[in-house]
Symmetry: C2
Subunit: 362 residues, 2 copies
DNA sequence: ACGGTCGCGTAAACCGGTTTGCTAAACCGC
DNA sequence: GCGGTTTAGCAAACCGGTTTACGCGACCGT
């Protein structure tokens, strides 16, 4: 009696029931292979011993984990408080649960994403926001696990889930132009790896680059230029948005409208506007991106670009499982989702008092 | 060449390097046991073969997974969009990463939490919001995995992380009483398992019961009664808060102040108030619970009860790892955190127009 | 020259399941 | 009564690592 109540193993059950290990295994996994009386007997003994098959041993033998991983280059503590990520993960969870798959999060371990990937016991990986220029990208792709990329095309041969960032951004800018706005500030999302000093649009595949292209395309179609110093970036959080708008204001920017690349940052900008004594939308229009649940609950409710956050998550699961089953490595075309503008209360006609002088030319 | 580029195993590396499997294992795990030249040679061969030890096999042999699980009775899709949970998980992630532990989420699989627990490959479980009356509680506790309970004492022998719910709730109610409020509506969190019809305070250990006790204690200390029909419950979401306040209003409740048991629901109540034409705080005061990051960003900023969400997560990790290392099953005293009221802009003196008649009596 | 210690590596057991032949008995039709 | 097919269950290999126990030659002191 020296060993403290060790958990019962399959061998214990087999011995107690007077059968072989194989029989016990069959009793649970392929009961048809056994006489139904025997199955019943084995099961009874098993529950009597409170036997529960060790999931790790099962994983090893079956060479599958029934788990999918969500990979992000950012640390989990920032990820979990990012509502965009929450809604995306919510979609992943829905589809994963339906497929009987567990969920694991993969994020840099002691600074190394590759190390985390090597440790991960998953059948497939959904990588979100993985920059094309991530330093460990080569190491990561070498792992033989099926990948799906979300919001990026960093691994050209893997399936990707994308949205029409440029189109959505263009719609947002067009909307503001139609309301008479001419002076914009853009609040972008800083690249995860790079410091504040680095150019956030260095990688043309990065979301900030894509959306900025959309804003500028629409603006220049309206004869307006969005200069580089009207673009500020920060982390994709409410605080990041507040700080960014304050910084732009302090640098002398006096926009009539703000184009924020995430709703979280737009909410932060809402606060900054309040702090600057500007009413939204009377003095300043703000439009976000993502159409989070919370965009409906701000005051005023947020005008924003809708993208199907949960649906992207569900589709990712579908793709990664599909990839895991039929292992043909032939590249697939990216899966695109449409975006569209949702007009709520945070945008309005440009205030007459702040109309541009050159607005009357032509 | 029939087998498609199978991943290299330890045996492959051993053969290629002309050593035994044990040597390869040592080269990575206990290099001191080998001649350093040999280590270097083995490592070179290994990287040449792009060898990466199979984490599952390693888990089996070492009998530990280097993973901790976060267990919730709710489905993950609702959990991931719950900001309270996000902040808590954020704390868990911080401490887990520091300890080199991965994170896995455990939630009901095809309706069964016990099944999910059995499948989970974790060294310890942090269970949050597990009701004392959960139908599978007996099955769950039988698993030999170390547990830590958060916001509940459903398993009396396991360590628990708690906050002073009653005290915080009392502080909120007292604050409102001091502002002259006499008519309240309480917005509570419905029990996860039970339907809408069930009594949300049936379990005295459930968070709604604890906080309600606090509200009522403070109220009755001020000579005020909070009747049962002034208590409405719903899911702990913004939408749940909106719906709940509308329902109370439709039932004839005309409060001057709302006590919401979560900030998410308070934000929803903020919206409901707007829809009812009530200004906050001029016409209606609202106080939340949790002090989420976002409570600073609402308009008006939310008066709420602070609890250390992230810190609770970090402490949980510490406890569960501690429990896993020294396996003495002796019960520990619960770890309590204090709560305190944070007064911001959503509460004010009761509007004179809506003052109670009996407010003048003595 | 000899027993003892040290340094380096190996063989084999082990972790706890699944799965692949294979055998022995029962059943079948004729 | 006999070949052929099922049925029921077993033994052993296997999944891919870790770890224990031991072998062996070199070195050491005497």
């Amino acid at each position: 009696m020296e060993q403290a109540t060790r958990r019962a193993t399959i061998a214990d059950v087999a011995k107690a029931a007077g059968v072989s290990k194989a029989a016990v295994s069959f009793a649970f996994n392929t009961p048809d292979r056994l006489n139904s009386d025997t199955v019943a007997r084995i099961r009874k003994v098993a529950t009597g011993l409170d036997y529960r098959p060790d999931p790790v041993a099962r994983m090893l033998a079956q060479r599958r984990t029934l788990t999918i991983g969500i990979l992000t280059p950012q640390a989990l503590d920032v990820i979990f408080t990012n509502p965009y990520f929450g809604e995306f993960s919510s979609g992943v969870a829905t589809a994963a649960e339906a497929a009987g798959m567990a969920l694991q999060f993969i994020s840099p371990l002691h600074g190394s994403l590759a190390r985390a990937v090597d440790r991960a016991t998953v059948d497939g990986i959904i990588a979100v926001g993985l920059g094309r220029d991530h330093p460990e990208i080569a190491h990561i792709r070498r792992s033989s696990i099926p990948f799906v990329l979300v919001d990026s095309t960093a691994l050209p041969n893997e399936p990707a889930v994308l949205v029409d960032d440029e189109g959505g951004a263009a719609a947002a800018a067009t909307h503001l132009l139609e309301l008479g706005h001419r002076r914009f500030v853009v609040i972008g999302i800083e690249a995860p790896s790079a410091g504040l000093s680095a150019d956030p649009t260095a990688d043309p595949d990065w979301v900030t680059s894509r959306r900025l292209r959309g804003y500028r395309a629409a603006a220049s179609a309206g004869g307006i230029d969005i200069p580089d110093d009207a673009v500020v970036v920060g982390p994709a959080s409410m605080d990041g948005g507040t700080t960014a708008l304050h910084r732009a204001w302090a640098a002398g920017q006096r926009p009539t409208a703000v184009l924020a690349m995430s709703d979280a940052m737009a909410i932060g900008a809402l606060r900054a506007a309040r702090e600057l004594g500007l009413r939204v939308p009377e003095d300043l229009s703000i439009v976000g991106f993502d159409d989070l649940d919370i965009a409906n609950y701000t005051d005023p409710p947020l005008t924003t670009v809708h993208q199907p956050n949960r649906q992207k998550g569900e589709e990712s699961v579908r793709l990664v499982l599909d990839r895991a089953h039929r292992r043909d490595t032939e590249p697939e075309a990216p899966h695109y989702f449409a975006t569209h503008l949702v007009v709520r209360g945070s945008t309005a006609f440009v205030p007459p008092s702040r109309q541009e002088v050159f607005d009357d030319r032509t």
